[in-house]
């Protein structure tokens, strides 16, 4: 038998997903839509946080949400109470959202006047980290009941996210949550990461989150505006 011939390939395994994500990012950019995705383990309070966020932003921005779930539409039903358009993506056996699912969900559904889109990923801290969804901002949530060492157990998801949100801080005394330790652990896996401590129940930290979100949207719009000016020159 002849010696096998080695052929260079150099292709990213998820190039198909990355291509679709790039297309989505371009489309969002051209339509002036700011996109925020949320990842966390099941039960971290993603849906409660998003429901509260939607009702706070909907008067200022035309907002919609996509929500990924393995089987049920419970989360979509809850989010619809905030009176913004919500669409469910049932992933079936797939444990994460992929760019193609986002593209398919938006077809014929996306409001042309939309300004702000939230994407709630399936509750999972492992799989979503590999898949770009074309978002501007990725939030990773952890609740105080999960323990301070969560970031050390799942360093990759923290490394692919932009902002860490610690939820359910009203329960911190009951579970003896060490907030300083949690912050240290997050910064250990992702130096300099922005962290917000929030409680949807008491409203603590939610105004701070709104200010941060507004500043990120403003930055993105300014960048877009400058790009248009550059193009005209």
């Amino acid at each position: 038998m002849k010696t096998p011939r080695l052929v260079e390939v150099r292709q990213r395994v998820l190039k198909q997903n990355d291509l679709i994500a790039r297309g989505l990012r371009q489309r969002f950019h051209e339509s002036g839509i700011y996109v925020v995705s949320l990842v966390s383990s099941p039960g971290s309070g993603k849906t409660a946080f998003l429901e509260q966020t939607l009702s706070m932003v909907r008067t200022r921005h035309r907002t919609a949400a996509l929500v990924g779930d393995l089987a049920t539409d419970n989360d979509a039903v809850r989010l619809a109470r905030s009176q913004v358009p919500v669409k469910q993506i049932t992933t079936g056996t797939v444990c994460h959202l992929e760019a193609e699912m986002i593209r398919n969900a938006l077809d014929g559904w996306m409001d042309p006047e939309l300004e702000l889109l939230f994407i709630e990923n399936v509750g999972n801290l492992v799989c979503p980290s590999s898949y770009d969804l074309g978002e501007n901002l990725r939030l990773v949530l952890m609740s105080v009941t999960e323990g301070e060492d969560k970031p050390l157990k799942y360093p990759t998801i923290y490394n692919t996210a932009d902002i860490a949100i610690i939820t359910k801080t009203d329960l911190a005394p009951a579970v003896e949550f060490d907030a300083a330790m949690a912050h240290t652990n997050i910064h250990s896996v992702r130096p300099g990461m922005e962290i917000l401590d929030v409680s949807v129940k008491t409203g603590d930290g939610m105004q701070q989150w709104m200010r941060l979100l507004e500043s990120r949207i403003a930055e993105s719009r300014a960048a877009q505006f400058n790009q248009v000016l550059e193009a005209k020159r």
Binding site: L6, V7, V13, Q16, H96, S130, V189, M193
Partner: protein, 121 residues
């Protein structure tokens, strides 16, 4: 390992086969004997789970006898204090292995890439 983790690696394994099938058609004749994959710790993919998933995924495909050879790529960061490329203490402690400064700028370690394939005529 959780079944959820296994499903993730299975879809990655199927993507690897898609990439290789496409590339082998482009290169014409020959059976693919092995696939060389570069895998970084920050890719979100576990090596052992991927190897197991690949065994399942390749069944009933033209690549059923193909081997998956994984090259693990270490994390490389830019250290703002040493002003050069450095390794880190660990994936849990993203600090310069030399001077212990925090190093947010990752230069390598996210790889999930088919680097080459071995073709038999």
């Amino acid at each position: 390992m959780t079944p959820i983790g296994a499903m993730h690696e299975l879809s990655i394994a199927m993507s690897i086969l898609d990439v290789v099938e496409e590339e082998s058609i482009r290169h014409g004749e020959g059976r693919v004997a092995a696939i060389h994959l570069k895998l970084g710790p920050l890719s979100g993919v576990a090596k052992e789970a991927l190897l197991a998933a690949f065994d399942l995924a390749r069944e009933e495909t033209p690549l059923k006898e193909c081997q998956l050879l994984i090259e693990e790529i270490p994390i490389v960061v830019y250290c703002p204090v040493c002003k050069t490329e450095r390794s880190v203490v660990s994936i849990q402690n993203m600090c310069c292995a030399v001077c212990a400064s925090p190093t947010p700028e990752v230069l390598a370690g996210r790889e999930l890439e088919v680097s080459a394939m071995e073709l038999c005529q």
